[in-house]
Symmetry: C4
Subunit: 339 residues, 4 copies
């Protein structure tokens, strides 16, 4: 099975099957602390923020999803990138590994011209550092995008249940550290839906990593997606058994939050489904919220459709700030007493 087929399957299942989204509304269940007298005007609320040297219209990143030479995958990323520019939000691309096996795919990541002034983040699977990939490939991934940083994703569950997976996670911390040291852009480490553990951060902070995307459970479930493809019934059943594995995203963030004092900047993802959820993630410790699946179907449609979702999130986020009496997003970070 070629990699692009796998990606096409992933995208199709994630976009079409509602059950891929395990969001039990874990974020939405958290009530926020309304102020009747916010003592500010809605106009005074400025939801913008800095991220990796760029100004965002609000603390939001379109999470890593895809990339490749195939027509649909290209269209998705071009729509996301154009929307990122128009709405001034960050964008992370999906894994770029394909560009090392399929030279045509390389061009597909040439998105910087479409989005010159927003953070673009490259993406590779950290596990590839054990499969022959090294600093050269990391640099190449960054360069093709003229990226502002490189996501290395940790996906032990996905590698373990995926037919093509290589669940080789031994000695990864030091290899990630080596990349962090050698690369001239920041490395960001993320999960893909089961959550980072505080001990994961404790291993990576000394190695020089500063950005962490908790990517907890409660949003898109890769095990579920894997359980829906291929014809190996045993493998599919095994994937299904882990469809709800992992630490729910709000809880994942909450317990990473203390590590901010050791230099970690947190990103919240996994089931973020509104601008209020972004505010919730920030209250739990994140500097930014991020979502993948809610943007997938719109990205298959048009730039406008993606922009509409982002605008809705921004408006909801702005209102939440206002109703919490918060002029600026950074005041939210870690204010757990507001839940």
């Amino acid at each position: 099975e070629p990699m692009s087929q796998r990606k096409a399957d992933h995208v199709r299942i994630a976009a079409e099957e509602a059950a891929a989204d395990r969001s039990a509304g874990a974020f939405a269940a958290l009530r926020l602390d309304h102020r009747a007298l916010p003592e500010l005007d809605l106009d005074e609320v400025d939801p913008s923020c800095e991220f990796l040297g760029h100004r965002l219209s609000f603390p939001f990143m379109m999470a890593s999803m895809t990339g490749g030479a195939d027509g649909q995958l290209r269209r998705i990323n071009r729509n996301l990138a154009a929307a990122a520019r128009r709405e001034r939000v960050a964008m992370a691309v999906g894994s770029q590994r394909v560009m090392f096996s399929d030279p045509q795919a390389r061009a597909a990541f040439d998105l910087r011209p479409l989005a010159p002034e927003v953070p673009l983040i490259a993406n590779l699977g950290a596990v590839q550092l054990r499969q022959g990939m090294g600093i050269e490939e990391c640099r190449a991934a960054v360069d093709v995008l003229a990226a502002d940083g490189l996501y290395l994703h940790l996906n032990p569950l996905q590698e373990a249940v995926q037919r093509e997976g290589t669940p080789t996670f031994g000695g990864l911390a030091s290899r990630i550290g080596a990349v962090a040291e050698a690369l001239d852009r920041p490395v960001l480490v993320k999960e893909v839906g089961a959550g980072l553990h505080p001990d994961d951060l404790r291993a990576l902070i000394p190695a020089g990593v500063r950005y962490f995307d908790a990517a907890g459970a409660g949003g898109t479930s890769w095990s579920y997606v894997e359980s829906r493809r291929g014809d190996d019934a045993e493998r599919r059943a095994r994937a299904a058994a882990f469809a709800d594995w992992g630490v729910p995203a709000p809880q994942a963030l909450r317990r990473l939050s203390p590590l901010r004092s050791e230099g970690a900047t947190l990103i919240g993802s996994g089931g973020i489904r509104s601008g209020v959820d972004i505010a919730r993630a920030m209250i739990l410790g994140a500097s930014l919220g991020s979502a993948a699946r809610p943007l997938l179907a719109p990205a298959m449609e048009s730039e406008d459709a993606v922009c509409a979702v982002i605008r809705r999130y921004r408006e909801e986020f702005r209102l939440a700030l206002f109703l919490l009496g918060c002029r600026r997003p950074e005041y939210l970070i870690g204010q757990e007493q507001w839940i």
Copy 2:
């Protein structure tokens, strides 16, 4: 869209759509502490109380709903006022802003002749103090009613999601304070269904406000109502996203309760749906319970229909007092050990 059309819409949606009432029975879930041996006769229970210089047959106020020149709005208020007199309960009118733009509406607030001996409370949006309204208008609103007090409502969520809204809440505390000082009647501050915050009271008590209506979430949801009108789909979706925003009314009261020792008198509203709920609100710190939506459909019908609801509440309240071994309503206030 003229203001009276907006009001007519509000009234229609609030009255007709059951989902406008988000009451998840938050009050009803609280079990009270039954006494098998109350050591008193039901006849000895005297549910009456003082409020703003008048005697009420029990601690209940019909919450602010409406007012205007339009036939139906007039009928609603006349029915409420006549019932207030007959059943001896307090009545607050809806926002009187309309009377400054529509002179005909002025007459609609001339309700004192209908209800000479009960507390009547005027009502204006506090946010108007940033929109040109000042002490003169406050006095006018009080005068037309010969009111015993003036409600200034805080509705940041409503102003933010309403098409015609002016979400300008900066510097309101001092402007409210100025009104409180200049007016010869007490100013009461309320929310409209998302709940007052203890810090809101901490800002207003030093400014001279003494009466606070918590108006928490769990009753009529203005965001829901807004999500049901107009043809701007984005705006409607945004309102819908906030349909359950706010602090549930029982919790809102419970955390305002300590501020009674700093001079605050509390009113409980937001999902009060029986006389037992009034007792629950008082146990959580309120001196009075208040409800809006349960009276709306009856008020569109007749004075008698309103009276029937009030009588039911009073009887339920009287029984609750009896079964708690309480001769007088004021003994309930803040007795949290009874929950």
Copy 3:
């Protein structure tokens, strides 16, 4: 409406309408502490106990239900009494007030010949001590039954919602005390389904009462029953509003339990629906379990039908003792660590 009509209504509604039983399985939700190695034989378990000078085959009393001249009411009590004898359990009759207005009803309480060797308990409404009833009537109620004790029931909620009710509970503690002192049999005080309060016991223990039937919420709801009869819609609605009023039976017992050290003997009722529930009630502090409604339909049928229910409860109770490693029922009392 004659009293016997009211009773017939009560019996019919309680027996026929499943919703009269509000039992949310509050007892059944409590898991007991199984012993795999009970270190005894089932045969060694002796579930019998003493109560009011008689030996019971297990700690169970048929709760007060009815009594009167009417054919069906007579049949119910005769079936209950005959079953009490056969199965050796205690029996309480329903309120005997009717015998003071209807001389024919007197004979209906002549149940001692049917049940010579078990505890029979007379029953009157404590509130009647404020309605002209005195020690003479109490003695008469005891005498007609040759009773071993007199239940005085406290039913403020029932008196308040019942058309014919006299909710006059002032000064009852001392009147109950006077009866306790004057009567040569023990007085037992009970609720009828809303639960006794620790403060109720604190008022009655110094007055000489030693037996208390918690009769908490979760079983037959008198308010519900009242809400189903008569044609006064307002009264019915009021009763319905209180259908779930009261302290759930397990919680009621648990908080009375400490008063055993001040001389109180507790009886558990309100939603007891199996022999295991009797064990649960005892673990929460009761010396005896009691149930009404589960015996009502059987009692309308035959002595045998009543016996079958009692036998089932006894077998379940005996097994529960065995599985808890308990030879004797009294070892259960107050062993809250077993829940």
Copy 4:
């Protein structure tokens, strides 16, 4: 009713009726502590372990189910034994009592040739030590299997609700102790689905027993099975009343866990339904997980069908170890902070 008929009934009901399995997912409800950076390769995870002198491919035992001369019972055990060998897991046979009354049944337990290199465990009801059975029978049960240990099961509830039962559990601790002393293989004590109590272990550890299978509630319910057979309606109703009796398996394990420091080795069973559940049981204190019902229908079918279930459990278990960053199963034991 002959014993073999009873066994055939048990097997049929347990296999066919889904409600026999009370598993409310008590294990599955426990979320485990995912590591995104496990710092090991899936290949490095070695799920094998020692048990009673044999190496298992992972910590799993097929729980006691059946045994007898009857064709189907033989087939079940032969399939289980062959699968035990192929997949290298432990196997416990069902009660061997039948072999003392039916000489033909003896041969049915001659399973060692089918499974030469895995732990085989004999099984007798401890209660039989009060019904004439002694050390000779225990030796015979071990010998016929060439067993590595002898399970003595404690089933007071089953004996009490089963028509043929002998609920004689007095003095069993010392009799079990005598067997433990006299037998040259370890004695293991288990429940059959209601859970061992810490005090049960406290009685048996000094008597020389070291292995305990908690066998808590939440899996196959014997009371339920009993409630579905025979024509004595009263007995069936009684059994039904106890269908959910007992301590849930996770809780049972958790409170036995501290007794490991006094020499107890724990086995977890009762509702284990996946390899992740085995990991959960170990985190709660078990050294091994065990399941019965999930293997029953497969064992009626074929050796292959049994192997398929075991392989699925092993793979799930191996993945769980990997995702917890655990190279070896023994690191899991008692790590409650991972839940």
